[in-house]
Structure formats: C-alpha cells, structure tokens
Symmetry: C2
Amino acid sequence: MHSRHFMQTPKRIAIVGSGLVGSLLAIYLRKAGHEVEVFDRRKDVRKVEFSGRSINLAMSNRGWKSLRAVGIEDEIKQIALPLDKRAMHVNDKPLYYQKYGKEEEAIFSISRGVLNRKMITLAEDAGAKFRFEEKVWDIDMAEAKLYSGESEEGEWKEYQFDLIFGADGAFSRVRHKMQRQSRFNYSQHFINVGYKELSIAANKDGSHKLDNASFHIWPRGEFMLIAMPNLDGSFTCTLFMPFEGENSFESIKTEKDADLFFQKHFPDINQEIENLKRDFFKNPTSSMVTIKCFPWSYWEKVTLVGDSAHAIVPFYGQGMNAGFEDILVLSQKMKEHGDNWERIFEEYQESRKPNTDAIAELSYRNFVEMSSKTADPDFLLRKKIENWFSNKHPDTWVPLYSRVTFSDKPYAEALAIGDYQRKIMDEVMEIPEIEKKWDSSEVENKILKLLDNKPVFSV
Amino acid sequence: MHSRHFMQTPKRIAIVGSGLVGSLLAIYLRKAGHEVEVFDRRKDVRKVEFSGRSINLAMSNRGWKSLRAVGIEDEIKQIALPLDKRAMHVNDKPLYYQKYGKEEEAIFSISRGVLNRKMITLAEDAGAKFRFEEKVWDIDMAEAKLYSGESEEGEWKEYQFDLIFGADGAFSRVRHKMQRQSRFNYSQHFINVGYKELSIAANKDGSHKLDNASFHIWPRGEFMLIAMPNLDGSFTCTLFMPFEGENSFESIKTEKDADLFFQKHFPDINQEIENLKRDFFKNPTSSMVTIKCFPWSYWEKVTLVGDSAHAIVPFYGQGMNAGFEDILVLSQKMKEHGDNWERIFEEYQESRKPNTDAIAELSYRNFVEMSSKTADPDFLLRKKIENWFSNKHPDTWVPLYSRVTFSDKPYAEALAIGDYQRKIMDEVMEIPEIEKKWDSSEVENKILKLLDNKPVFSV
C-alpha cells in the first residue's frame, strides 16, 4: 500500500535569496531529495561584517516548530537567548518587568548575522549549492530560466531549472517580474517611522550590562528604543523614530543634538552614550514597509516565500516566524501532493495569504498602539483588566500576544479572536467608574457573561 | 502693484504620454508660455485605427470646466453627444428611462479616439512638439533628463529638460521610476471583471439604431452591457463580465457559445448579433485596475498627472474628468506660485490626493453595487426613497451622483456627504413596514429631522 505521503521526483530547483527563509527552504528541499542552487547578489554573509541595519530577531513558537520539523531546532537554540519578559524603562519610574506568558514561555533573541551564517552552513551541509555575488537580472517564468550576470547591460548567464523560488526579500526581483503580469495585485505602504541599529557593548568580563533574559523597552510615545541581548554580552539596540518632526532622525544633525537627545530620553544608559552616538552617525536609517501581493505563484514554475510575498513592519516580532511558517506549510503540501507542484503552490498560497494578511494587520496595529497609545490611561487600564482577567481564567482568555507568539494556530484566527476580545473590552470600559472597580467580581462576571455569547472557534 | 497671479519664467518641459490628459496639459503649458515636448511610444493616433479596447468617454462638469478654462470647450462640444438619461434594458420589462439630474444636466458621450486626435491637433496648434514612436526608457529624476531609444538594449538619446510630467497612464514608466525610491507608497488592485469593446453600426441613412440621447444599460447582475452613441450613428458598446466563472469571458469559446449568450441575454439587440459576435472574437479582453500612489512629485523636477497617479475603475465615468481636473488645479497653483515649482507640485498633490482617493473609492463602490445589488429589493427601495425625497427637496438632498457628476465641489466632500446620507437611509430603512409607507409624510419628516443634525459642509 502507498503511504498518504507521496515521494517526490527530484527536481532542479533555484532559490533566489540566501537570507533566513531561503536558507531554511534549501534545507527542506535537500532533505526531500531535490537539487538546490541558491543565488544571492550579495557576498557570502559568513565572509563579511554584517550590515549594521538589522533588528535582532525574536524567534518564537512558529519559528521553532519549523526548525524542529527539519531537525535543526537544537542547533539553533545554542545561538539563542531566552527572554521571558519585557523590561520597561519608563521615565520617572523604576525599571519594571512584564512576563510574556505562562511559565516556560519565552521568545528567543538571535542576532540576524549569526543566525544567517549558521543557516547557510547547515544548508551547505545538507548539499545545497550557493552562488554568491550572482545577481539574477531576469527570469523567464514560463520556462523556469534564470539570467544572472555582472551588470544589467553586460553578458548574462542562462540557467535552466524545473522550479524557482523567490526568497529575495521585501524588494524581490522575482516578485517584480510577476508584477508585470496583468491582474497581479500589489501594495507597498511605508510608515513614517524609521529605525537605526545601535549597540551596547559587553562588560569587560563579557557579561551583559542589562538583564539578559529580558526584552528591554524604552517607550517614549512617538519614538522608542529597544535592546535585545547577544551571546557575546553585547546588546543590539534599535531606535524607532519618525523621519521628520520634533523628535526625528532629521532633527538630530550634530554630535551635540545626539548628546542632548540621549541624555534627556535615556538617562539610565548614559554610560553608553559614546557608543550610541558613534553608531547613530555610522549606521544608516532604514525604512519599514508592509508589502502585500497576490497571487504568489506562477503556475507550477515559480513561487514566493517570506518577505517577498508578505513583508511586514517589525512591531510584533513575527517577520521571520511567518516566513519560516511558510516553509513548514509548503513542506506539508509537498508531502500531500507529491509531484503535483501546481496544486502544492496553489494550496500553499491559499492557505498562507489570509494568515500573512492577518499578521501584517496585527503588526501595523502594534505600531499604531506603540506610537499613540502607550500614554493613554484608557488603553493602559484596558490592558490591566485583560491581564487580570486572563490570569484568573487562563483557559478562557488567552491574550492576543500569546496566540500570536506561543501558539501555532493560524494568525487569521488570532486576529479574529482578538477583535472579538476587543469588542468585549469595549463594553467593559463602558461600565461606570470602571477605573475604580476594574478588579471587582462585577467586572469579572460581566466578562464571563459576555464570553457566553462567544462564537465557536477551532481552538 | 503686482498682481496676485505671477507670470512664470518659460521652462523646457517634457510630457511623457500623448493621451487625453497629456495633451490637455500641453495646451495649458503652452498658453502659459513654456516650451513643450510630448513623448509617446505609440504611433500618432491620428494616423492609425484606434485600438478596439476603449470605453466611450462620458465628459461631465469637471471635464468641461477644465476645457473651458483653456478656451477649448466649444470645439470639443462639437464632437460630443449630450445624454440626459439612462435607458434601462431590463429583461422582461419594457425599456424605461432614468433622468440623470435636473433640466439641462447631461453627460456627454465622446469617442476616445476622436477626442484624442482632436486634443493632439489643438496642442500642436498651440505650439507643442510631439515625438511619437519615441519610448522613454529611463529618467534621471534629479536632473530632469529623459532617455529614449528604439529598444531597451540599443542606443539611447538623452534629452535635458527643466521639468518632466508623467502622463503615461495606469502603467506609467515615470511612476515606475519613482517607485524605486524608498518611502514611495503604491498599490495596484485588479477587479475580477474584464471588459470588451463591441459596437452597433449606424442605420443605412446614418441615424442611430437606439435613442442617441441616452446612456444604454443592460444590467444583468454579475455582468452588464452598456452602449454610448457616436457622431457617425454607431454605438460603442462595452461588455463588462467576470474573467472566469459561469457567465464569463472564459466560458464563451465558440461562435455557438457567443450566439447563445447574446440571444439569451440581449434579445432586444438581436439584429446586431453578427457585429457583436465579430467584435467579441476580434477585440481583446481588458482588465481594470485601481492604482494609488504617493507622493506624486519628485522635488521641483517631476510630477504625475491623470491615470499615472490615480487609475480608477470606470464605473462612475470619472476617469478622464478627474485627470482633466488635475490639470485645472495644477494651472491654478502655477498662477498662485509662479516659479516656485516645488510649492506648485506640493500643493497640487496635497490638494488632489484626497479627492482622487475619494473618486477611486466611489468608482469601486459603484462596481460592487452594479455586480451585487442591482437585483436586491432593499437596495432598489432605498434608491426609490432617495429619489422621491430628493425630488421633493432638491436643495436639501443633492444625490451623490449629481455631486460627483454635475458639481465641481471636491470628490472627497461628495464621498463624505454621501456617507452621511447613507447613514440617514440606514435609519429610514429600519422603519417598520417601510416598503409600504416609503412615500409617506412620516418618512419625509423623519429624514428632515435626521438632516437637522447634519454637520456643516462647505456647500
């Protein structure tokens, strides 16, 4: 008898992009028996200094699950630091902590450079061939041919494949080619906030200067600093700030501007000010964009994975996790449909699209919340009530953050349940004098009653 | 004393695209004293047969106003036919008519080819130079340089200008160049309905086969045929229909399929069936897209006008009108700000963007209404009540269609007032047994009362 899982005929497969999602895909495809070549216009990231425009990664449940299924979870855990809480550096308040979830629940800080190098080596070990410094200039999608070369005008090499994957990020060349098709829906939306990588060095003994099991946040309303620990004792910090306006990247022009800015807003890390200032002027300011498109596939020949299909803003820490989950779903469809690649691609995109739209929406909402609501007393009270109720009824009220971060249920479901919870909280906030009796049994019973009308979710 | 209107220093200006909006812009710029060269990759439309993928144009108030301001309204009126009503060809009902507005209010049917030829000649007469069959391959935006040539790989000619306008339509090359900038917001959204140009020939004596002062509509739910008269006695018809599905372009493959389709759905024009069938297989099926982007301008060097900045679906008949209004607004800003082109472009885009977003939304809503609601009794009752009330109180309740089509108030205002009217109608539709007493004084008074709370609009 045949197994429900088909074996696949080996194919010659090209992956454009050797980033995190491209490398993971290479490992999956090699383990399924395919020939894999990965093209990247950049140099081998193992041989160069990393870019200075990165935000540390927060690996959470979906990411780990996707690594586990291909047998590399343990190896990656060795280069990750678990963070079980936020450390809130609020002005004029002592440092305080917020646990992320239940016991054992944590997100993991990983340096993008360290992880990318490791993933490429694992993909090479699995037998994938990497072609660095080979920019793909054009693609014949119907024929699955790639054209690469030194420059757009110079000689091009032609490569023939059976399938091509676009894993070439938010500004994907592969998607760009698809975009010329009629009836290709596409949007790119930039936010008016940029980011810059900064760093806090290790102590001389190699230890961390701040708690290394926390995600550090300095919320300042329209702008925000975060810091995540690295294995070597340093922290990678990210300053999120509007491009223009009063407190903005544009407004900090001189060393003195920077001094005043850091002194005023981040007094508790003033011993680091020289490093912060140096990085501020050395590192580029990057923009953030939400990209959506559809379809992701061209027949059985070409498909998009990761940021090339669905770039999101980083405020939920889910960009890499969502991309890794793409590969897990794709591999499940490969097992279900064997050599029927058209069906594999079709079901993959149909299954992923509503979920990546949902995480895009949730990430954008987090950005809006962070920049406009962190000082709003109503918003803070709302969060306080939710936490209180959720702690009392952990199985009845799973917070949205936990559904996104610590579960593997679809993002679209998390969004729907989150919207439902928000409606309940809207009603709770209407209770007269709610600010005085927020932790009363009256409020508890009201929420329980409202939850009685809960639509059935598959949780 | 200086006039409030500045004279401008003559500039060398390139316009990419010799369509309707590009030609109108050329006339305005010539009359303001600038040197104007218009590039188009296509042949001179006066020397070739027109494309067979056009929808007849419906010029309305905004279009005429923009032509009037540059002195060419009367000449264009000579090639236009006024339509003061819809002629509704509903199955199993006698033909009936719906007046568009008050006495004297009409939209005007113009053939796109005829109008475009006339506009180019008027622009040439005004001194604009046209460079047909010269495709612009690249633009140096910072330097206002254009590069054209036979092919992308061959030799390019370089042209130096002071300013460049992109009037090159929904798939604009100029916008495409802007899109490579960081922080350029962009979206393209295709609808699942396509269209095809068909035609009804004139009678042998040159007269029209259907009433030539009507916009003819055969609404069929998911698909729809329209016909607009031409000067030569013919009608240009457009068949709007889903690409795929039961009644779709894909489903009509053979002559016999087409016979059955036209016989069944359009019995009252069955004498034209041979022409309709011939056109059906001869003419291409075109897609429809909404395109939004921002910013429209690059410093004081480059700006977008018309479809290149804001392509919309054609279901409100406002695409050309909105593009012409762009040029009128631009010319007003030129008068206000003289040689300060950066400010001209900035105020132009800030003023136009909310309005072109609004007409995009209204056009898309009309598409949804036409395809899903024309058979909904609630929707029809709602329209009936609105018409009845508007006829009784013409100054209090100007229908949305009239605000868009017969006024020159901003589209964004029409959308806002339309939404307000819709909320009132939502309440009216909640009146018990509204279907029996829709034209009672109870309903009339209810609407009047609800209007008392009307926010103040600048109308």
